[in-house]
Symmetry: C2
Subunit: 195 residues, 2 copies
């Protein structure tokens, strides 16, 4: 790794950190690349060298969020109850970080269009989350720990969709929605063992 | 009702219809009040008389959508299985009208902020939907038709959040998500009678 390359990577990480902060303060729509460049102490042109569009920077913020989630929650544990517990822990972390949940929800809704810069990110994100939960429900079913009639693939799709839908309702009415409790309740209802 | 008042109401309805069409074609962010005024054949100032902001018009589009949903799906049926069937029928209608689902999802994510013009709309919308489903689950529980351990209020919150979360995933990957089948599957899993 050359010094120049390393310096470029550090600068790139600094920009992503500043972007996440500015998004949290002003929202995605309220922020601009100029404001983010100013925060990180570089020129607008300098920022454009790393991220040519607002959307490219947003995608980078989300990619890093996923990497951090995986690391913190160790989403690479073997399939089973522990994977589900990590998703619930992730929801608990999200409750303490509404800014990033807000950003995620908004972008998910905007990125449904195939030509949106973050579209591929969300396709991969949903597929990876569903696959992980599906595998865990299948492992639980093989041990007789999933209630009869519950299909692992359908339960996985439901669990991820529920997490996303609950987050929007929770952001809208924080006092009215128990995000973590609702997820736990859903899981307990499909399992035959204590969650 | 005076002739002038009636004329104003018709014009207002025409603007809402044109707005829904333009949103479906260009998305909410891609549309402008000028483009909508042009579509309905009135001046920009004429449109501003009825809807002073882009957000006010959007809220009116959503209010009318709710009124139409209630009428078409007769969401005023007595609490019980029929209310749940009407929500599933509504999801079936939504699958044939992705433009309005897209609009709803984007606005729901933007309107989490208390100062957003559509915030109160979404609070009322969630509360009404949850109350209707809660009442139905409670009626089913009283007849022994809800599985033991399923709490009606929690199941209602889950059902509405699931519907919202599934819609975003379905819009992102239409071939990968069975919106109606997933909702039916969730309901069948909490009921003791055939759905």
């Amino acid at each position: 790794m050359t010094g120049g390359y390393l310096k470029g990577r550090i600068r790139r990480e600094d920009i992503i950190t500043a972007a996440a902060t500015v998004y949290g303060e002003l929202g995605y729509h309220g922020s601009s690349l100029r404001a983010i460049a100013k925060r990180v102490g570089i020129s607008h042109a300098g920022l454009l060298y790393h991220f040519p569009t607002k959307e490219a920077l947003l995608a980078a913020v989300l990619e890093r969020r996923d990497a951090e989630d995986s690391e913190r929650e160790q989403l690479t544990v073997p399939p089973g109850l522990d994977v589900l517990r990590h998703f619930v822990a992730l929801a608990g972390y999200n409750v303490r970080h509404p800014g990033i949940v807000d950003l995620y929800s908004r972008l998910a809704a905007e990125a449904v269009a195939p030509d949106h810069p973050a579209h591929e990110y969300f396709v991969r994100h949903y597929q990876a989350a569903r696959a992980g939960v599906h595998e865990s429900f299948a492992a639980l079913a093989a041990r007789g720990e999933l209630r009869a009639g519950v299909e692992p693939g359908m339960a996985a799709l439901t669990f991820i969709a529920l997490m996303d839908g609950l987050q929007v309702q929770w952001l809208t009415m924080p006092g009215d929605v128990d995000l973590v409790g609702s997820l736990r309740s859903y899981l307990q209802n499909v399992l035959t063992v204590p969650f």
